[in-house]
Amino acid sequence: MGLLSKKDAKLITDPLADNNPITIQVLGICSALAITAELKASIVMAIAVLFVLAMGNVVISLMRNIIPSKIRIIVQLVVVAALVIVVDLVLKAYAYDLSKTLSVFVGLIITNCIIMGRFEAFALANGPWQSFLDGIGNAAGYGIILIIVGFFRELLGSGTLLGYKVLGDPIEKTGVYAFGYENNGFMLLAPMALIVLGIIIWVQRSRNEALIED
């Protein structure tokens, strides 16, 4: 890590596991659940949040000394909303089908608690470079969970990954379907996202007992 000091590197690696925004800080759950039926949508959502959070953190951190604390929430919301509009227009231009799948959830990045949470907790008190790293780290921690949930839901629910039939063809009975395997359509329904996430939390906390709540 020649480029980053030890403290800076910690800003990125901490949120990936032990201080994960979704499973430990309980921020940004809404979108994590609603759009993870496909792996592709999860990846796009993770990238969108990465962009908005890193850029927003930098902007807020640059303005932190001139924002009056009484109206800071409105200022923060306007900054996020502007960035989200950029993301939305880019998605509509280059990935129209995906932007239809994500529907209102792109707009809901604005009220994604991860973003406001990191602004309040970090960007308002730290310089732009640290804030940028913090944004990257937290968005990556969020993205990892999103991708894990998306991976399992798409694999078990429709037997595909990113649209490729990795388990064989369910109609012609090739691959594992030849042995009587069936897709679990239940995984595609919204409630299963919650249960998959609950299981991820279970696994993570049994591996690291310091995280257990009482």
């Binding site: 809404c30 909303a81 009220t111």
Partner: protein, 246 residues
């Protein structure tokens, strides 16, 4: 009739928490006690009832393609400002929340004491922005229906947080595996509740869905009944065993 249908639909079928997962952050954070959950739930109903109709007016008279022709005259008919909707909606919500806070503090200090601390939380609650965005994407036709939709979704959210808070108060006395305690078990319970709420799905649309959809639903229903049978068998076995032991 139209109102009643939309009202019922927004409470049970398109429930904010169980069908679209909106407002999960505050749903998880503020559901440890029934009393605070009721406070937040009431504040959400209140704010949704104000902001959804207000944003409906904004959408109709400023944002929609061609809407400016209604307000400024026919020469503006070509303008399409819909890309501004995020920023305008969230600005309306943030200012309304601030305004409501000031008004409530002035005229009803007792209500302020019970609702007040939750109001700033609500500005960033995705259920509120989600309400307005769904109102826009579902193209709700009249102001009255927008109000019904706002109140209905608010009540749906209120119901959800009340239910989970009550369950969490009780589950503190149960033996939950240590790593699942707190957040994990809450997620799983919410998932199970969401599966329960899915059964409302057929009540209004029964019969007129396209066949592809209903097939998967039937398949799922079959799986459900199979599971239920298994569970019943298991519990019967359990009962038999306990009977033998006695």
């Amino acid at each position: 009739m139209e109102h009643l249908e939309l009202f019922f639909k927004s409470i049970f079928i398109d429930n904010m928490v169980f069908a679209t997962f909106l407002g999960m952050c505050s749903y998880l954070a503020v559901s440890k006690k029934v009393k605070t959950a009721v406070g937040l739930g009431a504040a959400v109903i209140f704010v949704l009832a104000i902001t959804v109709p207000l944003n409906w007016l904004l959408d109709q008279y400023i944002l929609q393609p061609g809407a400016l022709a209604k307000t400024l005259g026919p020469e503006y008919a070509d303008y399409d400002l819909s890309f501004l909707s995020f920023i305008l909606f969230i600005a309306t919500i943030a200012t309304m929340v601030q305004l409501v806070e000031i008004v409530v503090e002035k005229f009803s200090p007792s209500l302020y004491n019970s609702l007040g601390i939750f109001l700033p939380l609500i500005a960033v609650n995705c259920a509120i922005l989600g309400g307005s965005l769904f109102m826009q994407s579902r193209e709700i036709p009249t102001l009255g229906l927008a109000l019904t939709y706002g109140v209905g979704s608010g009540i749906g959210w209120f119901l959800a947080i009340l239910a989970i808070a009550a369950i969490r108060e009780k589950i503190r006395y149960s033996k939950v595996p240590a790593p699942l305690r707190g957040l994990g078990i809450t997620f799983i319970i919410t998932g199970l509740m969401a599966i329960g709420f899915m059964s409302f799905g057929g009540m209004l649309t029964g019969g007129d869905e396209d066949k592809g959809e209903s097939k998967t639903e039937q398949a799922i229903l079959k799986k459900d009944t199979v599971k239920e049978n298994e569970i019943n068998k298991l519990s019967e076995n359990g009962e038999n065993k306990t009977a033998i032991n006695q």
